[in-house]
């Protein structure tokens, strides 16, 4: 008898193949997404770890202050100090300084800011060696090496090279203090401290305006001194310690040893490296966000499976009753359902493998294109497919249990004696209320009551549609919100060029700019300083911008109050974080100049004049005179904003500005906005994937529910046809019901999308300080609605086809005599 049930299970699957196929596809999608998302996280993690491990990434970095250097004799003396020497496993010394790089872009010479990093690449015997700590990494297996210790050759940072089309064999010219050096690019590399080129104080990667060049230290020293064969000096050290746990103590001791020699150093532990921190945090946040998708998809598929099997019970109720009357044990009934669960679970896992292939491909493309690690391990991990498969099998078997329990409780007499045409079904409370309604056409009433007849199922169908829609819309909203953030960055800034200084400079350094560059329309001097809002264990960090004409450079979106001279403007994020309001006094710590002319940190106080909701929550604004007064740095600036008479970038001006002593970087507004183009391909790929997922989910849930509903009402439809109702009229009835489901599904989907989008950003700590307003995506709404409506139309047409093929005679004759 169990074999009979086994066969019946297989026949049931075949009889409703489209319905089960869709369920299998949805389960496959869940398995595929689970596997590919985890694989993506794994690939990303392994690639990051692989890159950092291969680079022998440091435990700590010790940097000398700007423009301070030591020779190797001094370095040896410091490192031989017995309070630290026993802690050191390996170390590397480098010479790091900034230069200008001349290279040709579209036939025009472009001058860019860059950084030379001189490494000890050759041992005493002149043999090429790899670095022991923070080894620059190549993107090719067998890279060309620099020819000799003083060769005029270099490795260039990968992204910078890509942005400007620089490749192996290309020549560049380095400029420093009037000296020039021609260099040939040998290979592209990743420099471990800049595995992802982010500089402190910047929101975005800076590869476009920040070229990092790795070259032999002797070559670096030659350019630094402007003469060949000069003494090797260093200003940057990286260490591997024997015990990484000693890093705090080591940093304190080495800082003290340097200090005893009158040298001030800055130490940076591995975890404090900004690009590394951003990469790892981003990875963790994405992992949490991505976990939501398989959960939602598995839930939908489980629900669909329960519904399909309950429909099966209804169809086979008399048969199950007869079998039970014949004495078939419950375990045989369980076999019946179990077979279906196992087959769907296994086929779902198979489909999952198929889905995982393109998904893995897309994600690997993202890793390779966006992150571009030197060590990229994109191999797929079969264990995620296996875990996904186990989840799918467990889910399918669990979901078969509920209908199996229902089937086991069927009383044979009830099942056998059922009379199909006689109405016993109640119509629900709303149906009772509606019966006296005269004005509504019967067709509308009927479709509403059909909809209300099984409220649980109708609501579940709507929720299924809503979830499918919400998944897509939330993704689109998150994307639009990020785009809006970028737009707000552009809108919030009302300048053409931002010129950053190296340290603080006198205001009058810009005195001749308008003469030298006739395109400059106005110059807006300013200062930007890091501030701390609380001197406790975890001070809130921020940047205070102060300009001559602060409102001329920045557009504020005021939430409260206004910008006032002599007072401070804070963000709504900080207002919430610190419990501050307009009129409150805000204490904060800023760098100031003391009486002896040295820097110190002082606590100052300003009245809050307003609260703004611009894009970044950690930025504060005041006027230049106020900040200069507070910091004792009168007539001093470190940032300049320019308005130009022409739109767009002016290369000649950029080249001129970057060469001005004291200028650190020149950024045009377009540099900020152009970066978005790099993301568009990835974005579109993800949109296609999400659209496919959404359509498949919607198709599975709507098809399952419509099919079940049509089967349950087969007799009603047959009766209608017998009475002479045309198929077009029946289609109209279905159209009403489909409309309710679509409208409600989309409506609830919008609410769900807001929830999901909030969850995405709420999960991400890195977004906490950004004022990311969740933007409603109209394009997402329309595309998502089109997908849902398209699916509903297709499913409705299939249902109509099913109804048109109903054999009226058979259905009507059921339980009839003759």
């Amino acid at each position: 008898m169990r074999k009979t049930f086994l066969k019946k299970g297989v026949r049931e699957l075949w009889a409703h193949k489209v319905q089960y196929l869709l369920l299998i596809l949805v389960i496959g999608l869940g398995v595929g997404m689970f596997a590919s998302f985890n694989n993506f996280s794994n690939v990303r993690w392994e690639s990051m770890e692989g890159s950092y491990n291969k680079s022998e990434f440091m435990d700590t970095q010790v940097e000398l202050r700007y423009d301070e250097y030591i020779n190797l004799t001094t370095l040896d003396a410091i490192l031989e100090n017995n309070t630290i020497s026993f802690m050191v496993q390996n170390y590397e010394y480098r010479l790091v300084y900034e230069v200008f790089i001349n290279h040709t872009v579209d036939g025009e010479v472009k001058t860019t800011k860059g950084q030379v990093r001189g490494y000890e690449w050759f041992d005493d015997a002149g043999n090429y060696r790899d670095q022991d700590v923070n080894r620059p990494l190549f993107y090719v297996d067998d890279p060309d090496h620099i020819a000799d210790p003083g060769a005029r050759e270099c490795y260039s940072e990968r992204k910078f090279s890509q942005v400007y089309g620089l490749g192996s064999g290309d020549g560049i010219t380095l400029l420093r203090d009037g000296d020039k050096m021609e260099l040939k690019i040998i290979e592209q590399v990743a420099v471990p401290e800049f595995m992802y080129v982010v500089l402190e104080g910047n929101l975005y990667p800076m590869e476009r305006s920040f070229g990092i060049l790795a070259l032999p230290i002797q070559t670096a020293v030659d350019l630094f001194h402007g003469s060949n064969g000069s003494e090797i000096i260093t200003n940057d050290l990286v260490f591997h310690l024997k015990d990484s746990d000693d890093v705090g103590e080591f940093n304190a001791r080495i800082t003290e040893i340097f200090s005893e020699k009158g040298i001030i150093v800055k130490t940076t532990e591995k975890e404090e490296n900004v690009p590394r921190y951003l990469l790892y945090t981003d990875h963790e946040n994405d992992k949490a966000t991505m976990a939501m998708y398989p959960i939602v998809i598995f839930s939908i598929s489980g629900f669909g499976l329960v519904m399909a099997l309950r429909r099966m019970i209804r169809n086979h109720r008399p048969q199950i009753g007869i079998f039970k009357a014949l004495g078939v044990p419950n375990r045989s009934v369980l076999v019946y359902f179990g077979v279906i669960g196992v087959v769907i679970g296994l086929l779902g896992t198979g489909a999952g493998v198929l889905f995982a292939i393109p998904l893995n491909y897309s994600f690997n493309y993202m890793v390779e294109t966006l992150l571009d690690f030197p060590v990229t391990d994109t191999s797929s991990s079969p264990e995620f497919i296996m875990i996904g498969g186990l989840i799918s099998l467990t889910l399918c078997l669990s979901c078969t249990l509920i209908p199996a329990m229902v089937a086991m409780r069927i009383k044979p007499i009830d099942a056998i004696q059922k009379r199909e045409g006689i109405s016993k079904k109640k119509v629900g409370r709303l149906g009772v209320y509606m019966k006296g309604v005269r004005w509504m056409p019967v067709s509308v009433k009927l479709s509403i009551r059909n909809f209300l007849r099984k409220p649980g199922r109708s609501v579940s169908t709507i929720l299924g549609v809503a979830m499918s829609f919400a998944l897509f819309l939330a993704f689109m909203m998150a994307m639009d919100s990020m785009y809006a953030l970028f737009d707000r960055e552009a809108e919030g800034n009302n300048w053409d060029y931002e010129i950053m200084m190296q340290g603080f400079s006198p205001e009058n350094m810009t005195a001749d700019w308008s003469v030298r560059f006739e395109e400059i329309e106005s110059i807006n001097h300013g200062m930007v300083v890091p501030i701390e809002l609380d001197e406790g264990q975890n001070p809130e960090m921020g940047l205070l911008y102060a300009l001559e004409d602060t409102q001329g450079a920045f557009n504020f979106n005021m939430e409260k109050g206004s910008f006032k001279q002599g007072e401070i403007l804070i963000s709504n994020y900080q207002a919430d974080e610190m419990g501050l309001d307009v009129g409150d006094q805000m204490e904060f710590v800023i760098p100031t100049i003391n009486e002896t002319g040295g820097y110190q940190r002082s606590t100052v106080e300003l009245t809050i004049s307003g609260i703004q909701d611009n894009h970044i929550g950690s930025i504060f604004y005041t006027d230049l005179a106020t900040l200069q007064g507070l910091s004792n740095m009168n007539e001093t600036i470190n940032i300049v904003y320019l308005d130009m008479s022409e739109d767009g970038k002016i290369i000649s001006v950029e080249n001129g500005l970057i060469m001005i002593p004291g200028v650190s970087s020149v950024r045009h507004m377009d540099d900020m906005t152009n970066m978005l183009e790099d993301y568009s391909d990835i974005f579109m790929t993800m949109v296609y994937i999400m659209a496919l997922i959404s359509a498949l989910l919607a198709a599975a849930i709507i098809y399952t529910m419509f099919k079940i509903s049509a089967q349950e009402r087969e007799r009603d439809y047959a009766t209608m046809k017998t009475l002479g109702t045309s198929i077009g009229k029946i289609a109209k009835l279905l159209a009403f019901e489909a409309t309710y489901i679509t409208v409600w599904g989309i409506g609830l989907g919008v609410i769900g999308a807001y929830g999901l989008a909030n969850l995405m950003f709420a999960n991400a700590d890195e977004f906490a300080e950004f004022n990311i307003a969740i933007i409603f995506s109209w394009s997402g709404f329309f595309i998502g609605s089109m997908i849902i409506i398209g699916v509903v139309i297709i499913v409705s047409l299939l249902t109509i086809r099913y109804i048109s093929k109903i054999n009226i005679a058979n259905v009507i004759r059921e339980r009839s005599t003759g």
Binding site: G421, G431, K435, V442, T719, G818
Partner: protein, 244 residues
């Protein structure tokens, strides 16, 4: 099209119906020939499984014969397309089923309004008025807003008859109309059905109840898909005189 005799409403000639069930061919109807005249009650009598309902389905245009011809109202219906058969049912046929087949989500009135609105393309107040009239005619005044589950079997069957009559068909086909009803209710239903057979209209009842033959003008005895006997009764008894 082959026009039949002017006083002939249904003319079936040499009709057979076979089904393929797996490898077995089931001959449900074999060479059936019969006629139904207007203003008459015709009964098809036979035991369960003899093909009565199959025969009714062929006449009702919800199934098509394998061979033979069916002429209704002067037109052949076998071989018509689905849309033409729908129109045929709209214009000619009223069905009354053993199990009533009311739409469970509609009240008694709405079951009729559905046909008026959706099949007859009527609208507005006319629909409500006509539905109430029809229900009153079958003795269901005051029960209009009850759902089928709130009605007794007899009441459901009366709604079913009212629904069938709402199209004002020329032919009323009733499949075991009293099969699910008690004696008194059954007689009430038969009264309603037989009263329809006037004004050029006809009632065709299929049943296994031999007593019902007494109210018919014509009876066809069906056995194993074949018409084995035909009797005519120019003066059938009234339903009130019927007993079973």
């Amino acid at each position: 099209m082959n026009a039949g005799a002017s006083d002939l409403l249904i003319g079936i000639k040499n009709m057979s119906k076979s089904y393929q069930m797996g490898e077995v061919v089931v001959h449900a109807l074999k060479d059936v020939t019969l006629t139904v005249e207007p203003n008459q009650v015709t009964v098809i009598l036979g035991p369960s499984g003899c093909g009565k309902t199959t025969l009714l389905n062929q006449i009702g245009g919800i199934d098509s014969p394998t061979t033979g011809t069916i002429v209704v109202n002067g037109s052949e219906i076998q071989g018509l397309s689905q849309s033409k058969l729908t129109k045929y049912r709209q214009e000619n046929i009223g069905f009354v089923f053993q199990f009533f087949n009311l739409i469970p989500n509609l009240t008694a009135r709405e079951n009729i309004e559905f046909v008026l609105e959706y099949v007859m393309n009527m609208s507005g107040k006319e629909v409500h008025k006509k539905a109430e009239e029809l229900l009153a005619n079958v003795g269901l005044a005051g029960r209009e807003d009850h759902y089928p589950y709130q009605l007794s079997g007899g009441e459901q069957q009366r709604v079913s008859i009212a629904r069938a009559l709402s199209k004002d068909p020329r032919i009323l086909l009733a499949d075991e109309p009293t099969g699910e009803l008690d004696y008194v209710t059954g007689k009430m239903i038969l009264e309603l059905l037989t009263s329809f057979a006037e004004g050029g209209r006809a009632v065709l009842i299929v049943t296994h109840n031999k007593e019902l033959a007494k109210i018919a003008h014509k009876v066809f005895y069906l056995r194993d898909g074949k018409v084995v006997k035909e009797t005519k009764n120019p003066n059938p008894i009234k339903v009130s005189q019927l007993e079973w």
